[in-house]
Symmetry: C2
Subunit: 411 residues, 2 copies
C-alpha cells in the first residue's frame, strides 16, 4: 500500500501512536489499562492530569509482568494499587512535552514510515500471545505486509561478538530458509543478527529487523546501509517512535517481540551471558519451539547454545531442514532424519549382505587366497553356510574362485 493511499488515522490510532511516545513498551500499568479502556480515553486522562474514569479495581488482578515488574502491585482496589496507578500517570505525563505535532505521523509518512495497530489487517495476531505486554503499536519501514511476512517466519538471534564460524552458519541457514520461503526475523545487531539478515537478503527473501530504537535511528551506525536494504526488501520495525534512541533495557524489552513475531527461535551463537538467551527464554515462555546450533565446545560463543541444548530447553539443529521440520505441522515435510538417512554415500554392496556372508567376506585374506574350510573356521560358520555365502559373494562380484580356493576381487 503506497503512502498516498493511506487512510486518515482514526482517533484510536492517533492515541496509540501517542502512547508509544509516553510509555515504555510492556509497561504493565498501561497494558492493564488498555484491557479496560480505549487508547484515546487513556491519552485524554494523561493530558488532563486526572486518572481515567475507571475504577482501579476493574483492572486485571495481576498487572505485574515478569518482563517489566514496575506494575500495579497490591490487591485490586487497594490504596497501594491506586498509588501505583498514580505513579504510572505521573511518569507518562513527564513525557508529554515529547509528543510531536500530529504524533509524528506526518513526518513519518514523509520518511516512508507507517504505523500498524492491533486492529489493523497487517497486525500479526501472534503478538496478541504477549497478553498485556503486547506492543501498543508498531512503527514500520518497508512495504511488505507484516502479517503475511510473519506467517512462516523464524527468529534467528545470537551473539554480537560472533565468530567467523557463527556468522557463516547463520548466513547459510538464513539463506536456505529464505530460499524455501521463510522470513527471517532478527534484531539488526552486529554479528549473528547481521549475518542472518544478510543471508536472507541475498536470496531475495523477506527479512524483518526488530529494533530497540526508532526505525529511523541508525543503531548500530555501521548498519545504516543494512537497514536501508532490509527496508527495501523486507521490514524494519519498532515499538519505539521515530527518533527514539536505544538503551540497554530496551533491548531486553524488544526481545520479547522478536520471539513473539515468529513461529520459533534459533540461537546460533550465544555466550553464557548473551542477550540472545533472553530472546530464547521468551520463545520458550510463549511455548514456541526453541532451537540452538551447536559449535566447538572450545568456543565461549557457543557455551550458551550448548547449555540450553544440554538442559533440554532447545533442540539441536544444524541446518535449515531441521528448523523447518520443527516448525511445520507433523507430516507436512519429510523429516530431516528420513532425508539424512538416504544421501550419506551410495549404498555399498557390502552393506546389503546378510550377517553370515559379511563374516565370510571378512574371513577372506587381504592378500592371496584361502580354502573353503579355512574360511569357514575363520568366519565361525559351518561348511554348509560357507558354501552358500561364497556363492552369494561371488555372484555379487565381491570375491572370485582361483586355483588355491577363494580370493577378494579388486574393486
Amino acid at each position: 500500500m503506497s503512502p498516498a493511499r493511506w487512510p486518515s488515522p482514526d482517533r484510536q490510532t492517533l492515541a496509540r501512536a501517542a502512547l508509544t511516545y509516553l510509555a515504555e513498551p510492556a509497561d504493565p500499568a498501561l497494558g492493564a489499562l488498555l484491557e479496560v479502556c480505549e487508547p484515546a480515553e487513556i491519552l485524554a486522562a494523561i493530558k488532563a492530569g486526572t486518572l481515567p474514569a475507571i475504577k482501579p479495581e476493574t483492572l486485571p488482578a495481576d498487572a505485574t509482568d515478569p518482563i517489566c515488574p514496575t506494575g500495579l502491585t497490591g490487591p485490586t482496589g487497594s490504596p497501594a494499587r491506586r498509588r501505583a496507578l498514580e505513579a504510572a500517570f505521573n511518569r507518562w505525563r513527564l513525557r508529554l512535552p515529547w509528543l510531536p505535532d500530529d504524533v509524528g505521523l506526518t513526518s513519518a509518512r514523509r520518511d516512508g514510515i507507517r504505523l500498524v495497530c492491533p486492529a489493523d489487517p497487517q497486525w500479526p495476531e501472534r503478538l496478541d500471545e504477549l497478553g498485556a505486554a503486547r506492543p501498543y503499536a508498531l512503527w514500520l519501514r518497508g512495504r511488505a505486509d507484516l502479517r503475511q511476512a510473519c506467517q512462516r517466519s523464524v527468529s534467528m538471534v545470537g551473539s554480537r561478538a560472533a565468530t567467523g564460524y557463527g556468522a557463516h552458519v547463520a548466513g547459510e541457514i538464513a539463506a536456505d530458509l529464505g530460499e524455501r520461503g521463510w522470513t527471517v526475523v532478527s534484531g539488526g545487531a552486529y554479528g549473528i543478527d547481521a549475518a542472518a539478515h544478510r543471508g536472507a537478503l541475498v536470496t531475495g527473501a523477506i527479512t524483518i529487523a526488530v529494533l530497540a530504537c526508532g526505525v529511523d535511528f541508525p543503531y548500530p551506525a555501521g548498519h545504516a546501509e543494512l537497514f536501508a536494504a532490509i527496508a527495501e526488501q523486507g521490514l524494519v520495525i519498532s515499538e519505539w517512535p521515530p527518533g527514539r534512541q536505544p538503551a540497554r533495557l530496551r533491548f531486553l524489552v524488544r526481545n520479547r517481540t522478536i520471539a513473539a513475531l515468529s513461529c520459533g527461535t534459533v540461537v546460533v551463537e550465544a555466550g553464557e551471558r548473551s542477550g540472545a538467551l533472553n530472546t530464547a527464554r521468551h520463545a520458550a515462555q510463549l511455548g514456541k519451539p526453541l532451537m540452538a546450533v551447536p559449535g566447538p565446545v572450545t568456543s565461549a560463543q557457543s557455551a550458551g547454545c550448548h547449555r540450553i541444548i544440554r538442559e533440554w530447553d532447545a533442540t539441536c539443529v544444524t541446518r535449515a531442514d531441521h528448523v523447518i521440520e520443527m516448525l511445520s505441522p507433523l507430516g507436512t515435510v519429510p523429516t530431516a532424519t528420513t532425508a539424512a538417512a538416504a544421501p550419506v554415500g551410495a549404498t555399498r554392496a557390502r552393506d546389503a549382505l546378510d550377517l553370515d556372508s559379511a563374516r565370510v567376506l571378512d574371513a577372506l585374506p587381504a592378500r592371496g587366497a584361502a580354502g573353503t574350510s579355512t574360511i569357514a573356521a575363520e568366519a565361525g560358520v559351518d561348511l554348509d553356510t560357507v558354501l552358500r555365502c561364497l556363492g552369494l559373494l561371488a555372484g555379487s562380484g565381491l570375491i572370485e574362485r582361483c586355483d588355491r580356493g577363494w580370493r577378494l576381487r579388486k574393486p
Copy 2:
C-alpha cells in the same frame, strides 16, 4: 597379583578359555547353551562330536540376539532348532585344530596375559547385563583389578578419522576424568580412541583398551607402544584369544563390551556412519547414559554426534563435569549448571540493580550530565522513583552529582 601366585586354573576356566578359541563372541547358540550347561560339558561335547547331554527344548526360548542373529531360531524343541544347534556344533568343531596346548594359558602367562572368567573376583558384574551375549571370558594384559577399574568408568568413543578439534577435546575430557578418579574405556583405535587413552594416561589414571583381536596382536600396528603403555598403567583386554586377528565384524561385536563395561558412554566425534554410533546404540540399549560432544556443524565428523543429540538419544556434554554429573547418583556432585552459573565473570554492580534503578542508569547520557526530570522522562519513571534511584546509584558509586545535574562516574 603376580603371575607366580596365580592359582592353577580349574576345569571350567580351561573350558571357557577353549571356547574363546572355538566360537565367536556373542554366538547366541553358545550363549544359550551356557545358561543350561557347564562350559566343560559343552567343550567335551564339541570334542566328542556329539551334542551335549541336554534336550534342546530346555534352552531359553529366544536364543537369537540382535547383535549376532545366527542363532537358534525356530520354536523350542523343533527340528529347526535341533538343526541350528547341530550347525553351531559343526562350526565350533571346524576350529578344534586351532586349540593350542594348555589352551594357550601357559604361553599367555609368559607374555603377562591372564584370563578372567565370570566366577572370578575380578569379573565386572556389569558385563552380566549383556545376558546370553556376555563374554565367555576375557583375556587381560596389565596388572590393574578389572572389576575395581570399571567401578567408576566412562566409555569414550569416536571417529578414527578425528579432526584436530575432536582429538583435542577427547584428550582434555579424558584427562579431567582421569584426574577425578574415573577410568576411561575405549577401543584402542586411531583418532578419538587414542586421544582418550592418552589423555587418561598423562594424568596417571587407569584406562582400559578393549580390542577386537588378541591382546598381544598390535592392531593398529602404529599403536603397539600405546598398548604397551596402557598395559603398564591400565588394562588391554579382549574376548578373543591371544594371536587372533581383527576383522571388520569383530569390531561391532566388541563394541557391546565397551558399552557394557562402563557407567556410560560419551561419543566425541562420529560421522554419520561411524562405528562409534554402534557403541552408542549398545549403551542406550543397556539403559546406560549416552552423551555426545557437539562440534562445528560444518564438520562431517560431528554429524553423528549432532544427530543423536538432536533426536534426544544423547545428552549434550561439553566437559568432564557434565559427564560426571550424568553418571553420579543425584545429589552426590554439585550440578554443572550450579557450578557454571557462578564463575561466569564477577557479579557486576549493574546486575544487582532493581529494574527502576537500571532504567535510570540507562537514561543517563553517555557523555555530559542531565537534570532530574529529564532523566525521569527518559527512564520512564515518575519523579519520586527517579529521586530514590539516583540516590541508590550514587551510593553504589555508579553515578555522581555535578553542577548540571547527574552524570555517570568513570569506572
